[in-house]
C-alpha cells in the first residue's frame, strides 16, 4: 500500500510504536519536527486527505489526542509546519488548507494574549468553533465509511432479470376516432380553400372505393373484361359506380380501355408502361 495508505489509517499500533521508540531513554512523544519527508510522499499524503479538517483529524488521531481535549496549540504548530513544508516544496495547495493555517495561527495568538475581561462576548471562541467543526466533519466521514460498507446494487447485490422464451410485445393501436378524422378533413380542405365544387373530387366515396378496388385487381399485362369487374350483388347502382370509377381511372391515365370491335366486350388494363404491348390485348 502506498505511503498514503499507511499514513491515513492512524492505527493505534503506530502510537504504541512511537511510544516504544526510545530516544536517549525518552519516549518519542511526537513526530520529530525535522523528519525529512520527500516531496512526492508529501503530495501522496496530501492526496489522501479530503481537506484541512481531514488532515487535522489525522494529526489528532495519530497522536491519540482526545478530540474534546486537543492540545490546540501543538496541533496548530504541526499543521502549520506541514503546510509551510508543502509550500516550500511548491506543492500547490487548495486554498482551504491555507485558510485553516491562518485560522490556527489566529487561535494560537489569541491563546497567548491574556484574556481581557471585556473580550468575553466578542463571538464564539474560534477554538471551540474548530472543535465543533472537527467533530461534525468526523461524524460525516464515519457516515461515509458506513455507506461505503453498506451493500449496494452492482457491487454486493445483483438484481435478477430473465426473458420469456419469445417476447412478443404487440404495439398498441391508437384510438380510431371517426369524428377526429372528419374534422381533420374539414380543416385541411378549409385550409386549402378546396371546398368549391370544381376543385374537389366530386365523385362520391363509393366511386373512390371502387377505383381503388379496380386498381387493386388489375395486374400488369392481364386485362379484365368490364363485365367481370362489376359484382352482381351491387345491382344497377354497383354498375353505375363501377363505370364511373373506370371513367375516373381512365381520366387519371391509370388504366386503358380497349374494344376490339364496335360491340366486342370492353377490356380494361393497367396503363402500365411498355410491358403491356406484348400482352395478348388486341389493339383497338
Amino acid at each position: 500500500m502506498a505511503v498514503a495508505g499507511a499514513v491515513v489509517k492512524p492505527a493505534a499500533s503506530e502510537a504504541e510504536l512511537l511510544a516504544a521508540i526510545r530516544v536517549a531513554g525518552e519516549p518519542l512523544a511526537e513526530l520529530p519536527e525535522d523528519l525529512y519527508i520527500p516531496p512526492a510522499a508529501l503530495r501522496v499524503i496530501l492526496e489522501a486527505f479530503e481537506g484541512p479538517l481531514d488532515l487535522l483529524l489525522y494529526l489528532i488521531r495519530r497522536q491519540n489526542f482526545d478530540i474534546l481535549d486537543i492540545p490546540v496549540h501543538k496541533i496548530a504548530n504541526q499543521y502549520i509546519t506541514y503546510i509551510e513544508l508543502m509550500r516550500e516544496l511548491e506543492i500547490e495547495l487548495a486554498g482551504e488548507y491555507l485558510l485553516m493555517a491562518a485560522m490556527l495561527a489566529e487561535i494560537k495568538s489569541r491563546m497567548l494574549l491574556p484574556k481581557p475581561a471585556a473580550a468575553e462576548d466578542e463571538g464564539a471562541d474560534p477554538r471551540a468553533e474548530l472543535v465543533r467543526r472537527l467533530q461534525e466533519y468526523e461524524q460525516f466521514r464515519t457516515a461515509a465509511e458506513q455507506l461505503q460498507a453498506w451493500p449496494r446494487v452492482g457491487r454486493d447485490v445483483v438484481c435478477v432479470q430473465h426473458e420469456p422464451p419469445q417476447l412478443h410485445i404487440d404495439k398498441p393501436m391508437p384510438q380510431a376516432d371517426l369524428r377526429q378524422l372528419l374534422l381533420a378533413l374539414h380543416e385541411v380542405l378549409q385550409r386549402a380553400e378546396l371546398f368549391n365544387e370544381h376543385h374537389i373530387a366530386r365523385e362520391p366515396l363509393s366511386v373512390r372505393a371502387t377505383m381503388s378496388a379496380i386498381l387493386q385487381r388489375l395486374r400488369p399485362g392481364r386485362p379484365i373484361a368490364f363485365a367481370a369487374l362489376c359484382t352482381r350483388d351491387e345491382g344497377r347502382m354497383g354498375v353505375v359506380v363501377c363505370f364511373l370509377a373506370l371513367l375516373e381511372l381512365a381520366r387519371a391515365a391509370l388504366i386503358r380501355l380497349h374494344q376490339d370491335a364496335p360491340d366486342a366486350p370492353l377490356a380494361i388494363a393497367l396503363a402500365a408502361g411498355a410491358d403491356t404491348s406484348s400482352a395478348e390485348l388486341a389493339h383497338g
Partner: protein, 216 residues
C-alpha cells in the same frame, strides 16, 4: 467437499446455491465448462457434480413460473412460456396518439383514393413525412393500390377493410360526402348518425349523391 456419488442424489447444497446464484445473475446462458471456471476457487467441482446440481435445480424450479432450461450455449433461467403474454405487459406502451398530420393524411387518402403522396402534399400544402405513410401502413389502414405510370412511378394509396373496421364503418360510402364535411353542423350530424346507437348503416335519405345516380 462431499463428493456426491452418481446414484447418491444428495448434491452439495452449497454448490447448487452457487450455480443458482450464477444462473440467476447471468444475462446469457452458462455452459457447464463456463460454470467450472467460474467455480474454480470455490470447490473445483467436476463436470458430474455440476450436472447433478443443474438437474437438482431444474427439478426445484420445475413448478415455478421461471424454469431452468438448457439451450444451445448452455443453461439459463427463463420465464415460463405461458406467462409470456402477462410479462409482455411490463413493456406494453400506452396507445400512441394520432397526430394532426396523420389524421389529415388518412382523411385525404380516404376521400380521394387512389391518391399519390405528392397530391396529398399538394392539398395539405405541407410535405408528408414517409414515417406517417409507413405508420398508417403498419396500422393496416392504408395500402398501395397501384402505381401511376409516370416517371418515378409514384405509389397510389387507398384505404383498407381494416380501416373500415377500426373506424366502425361498414363501407366507405357510409361516410358523409364532401358537402357534409364542409358544413360543421352537417358534419356533426353525420358523425352522430354514424356513431349513434340508433343509426343503422343505411345512409340517411338526404344523402345527395352528386353523381345524380338514383338511390337504390
Amino acid at each position: 467437499m462431499a463428493e456426491a456419488t452418481a446414484q447418491d442424489t444428495v448434491v452439495a447444497a452449497g454448490l447448487v446455491q452457487c450455480i443458482e446464484a450464477l444462473l440467476m445473475a447471468a444475462d446469457e446462458p452458462l455452459s457447464v465448462a463456463r460454470l467450472m471456471t467460474l467455480l474454480e476457487h470455490h470447490d473445483q467441482p467436476d463436470r458430474g457434480a455440476i450436472r447433478m446440481a443443474l438437474r437438482a435445480l431444474q427439478a426445484r424450479y420445475a413448478e415455478a413460473a421461471v424454469n431452468l432450461v438448457e439451450v444451445a450455449q448452455g443453461w439459463r433461467f427463463q420465464i415460463g412460456a405461458d406467462y409470456a403474454t402477462l410479462v409482455a405487459r411490463l413493456w406494453a406502451e400506452k396507445p400512441p396518439r394520432l397526430s394532426r398530420a396523420m389524421l389529415e393524411t388518412l382523411a385525404l387518402i380516404c376521400y380521394r383514393q387512389p391518391i399519390a403522396r405528392s397530391e396529398i402534399e399538394q392539398v395539405r400544402g405541407v410535405s408528408v413525412s414517409s414515417s406517417i405513410i409507413k405508420t398508417l401502413q403498419e396500422y393496416d389502414w392504408i395500402r398501395v393500390v397501384g402505381y401511376r405510370e409516370v416517371p418515378g412511378r409514384p405509389a397510389l394509396f387507398g384505404t383498407t377493410s381494416q380501416f373500415l373496421d377500426d373506424f366502425c364503418v361498414k363501407q366507405l360510402s357510409d361516410l358523409p360526402e364532401l358537402p357534409a364535411i364542409k358544413d360543421p353542423e352537417a358534419l356533426e350530424a353525420a358523425v352522430a348518425r354514424l356513431q349513434g346507437p340508433a343509426a343503422d348503416s343505411a345512409p340517411a335519405p338526404d344523402v345527395s349523391v352528386t353523381a345524380g345516380g338514383a338511390d337504390e
